[in-house]
Subunit: 191 residues, 2 copies
DNA sequence: TAGGTTTCCTAGGAACATTAGGCAAACGAT
DNA sequence: ATCGTTTGCCTAATGTTCCTAGGAAACCTA
């Protein structure tokens, strides 16, 4: 019987694609095996278990997201950098809902350490160099930006902005939010 | 055989408690049946299916959260109101991680409409009355506050703030974040 | 081409989700 | 009280998923 050529990497990418198609919560070992035309048990030579598989998707997504953010950031500074970075973030979440959901998964500290999470922080810090903040304000601002981007994207995806009175386009709110954050970083309150 | 006295309400509360103890993703029909000492099948007279059960937990959590926020808000205005509201939000998430995770579940629009989601928006709007914003800025600010609170709590829980250099207490960042948001609302950028 | 390794298989068990149909407890009306 | 009706929990059964153990065939290497 011809072999399917499974590897942890191929499985991870396929699982990520599956997540984008049917939702991260529906990424199962069975579904993935089906996609490769092999039996469930065959996957266990390449991944430890279902949780391991999902973690790998999370790590992949974090890395991809960091790559896009890095590209967006290249050659920009200050407010431009902020807008580009945030745009890359939101765009990725829109295009890859399953991957983005994976990236939000609770990773154990070891996996988190091996992930691109640190790159995300560094990039956010790079943006802040265009403003005038010193520690610990910079760390606080990094966290605030992360929180706001993630919270916005997450609420938008959950339909939290759908039924408001008066109606208001999410894109419009997004630009205004970025303007507001820019203003805030320029007027960061003294201790 | 003595009856167990199951009702949708009791099941929902028990499922919410279970979520806080073992995590929302481990709330299963089987585990809940075990807790009541009945067979799995017995629950299906009271809930439609597993998804229905989890949605009910989500609706419960949203309502509880709205109640706490409302209490926190009572008699306060402006910056005080902002801090109290946000504190209630974060505190609930810390005390009830399973319920909070449930509240983040993607609800279908019908369930969302029957939930306390609208009360949350109204309360956030109430806070903003202490500042000087008019539409559509007010809607944008509501969304920004929601996003930031949710994003912060969500990242904090996922361990996103654990390993930063330099180290920085999450509580400290939280107070500074609220100060910053207060400043921002007082200096909301013109269109 | 023979031996060893890797890859995928079969077989099987445990947990969970769900449906169909049954019996007994609770309840309401006489 | 008792009779019928409703309701609540049961047994039984099916399908899905996760996972382990051990076997056979494909691939690699000497």
């Amino acid at each position: 019987m011809a072999r399917a050529g499974l590897t942890p990497e191929r499985l991870t990418v396929a699982a990520a694609d599956l997540a984008d198609e049917v939702g991260f919560e529906n990424v199962t070992v069975s579904a993935l095996a089906r996609r490769f035309g092999v039996k469930d048990a065959s996957l266990y030579s390449h991944i430890r278990n279902a949780h391991d598989l999902r973690s790998r998707v999370a790590v992949l997504a974090l890395a991809e997201l960091a790559d896009r953010a890095a590209s967006a950031l290249a050659g920009r500074a200050g407010r431009d950098a902020l807008v580009a970075f945030a745009g890359a973030y939101r765009d990725y979440a829109k295009r890859h809902p399953g991957r983005y959901a994976a990236a939000q998964m609770e990773l154990d500290l070891e996996t988190l350490a091996r992930s691109a999470a640190a790159r995300h922080s560094e990039m956010t810090r790079a943006i802040l160099r265009g403003y005038d903040l010193s520690e610990p304000d910079e760390t606080d601002a990094v966290r605030l930006l992360h929180s706001t981007f993630h919270g916005f994207v997450s609420l938008e995806r959950a339909g939290g902005f759908a039924h408001t009175t008066p109606p208001r386009d999410a894109d419009a709110t997004w630009s205004r939010t970025l303007e507001a954050l820019d203003t805030l970083l320029k007027n960061w309150p003294p201790p």
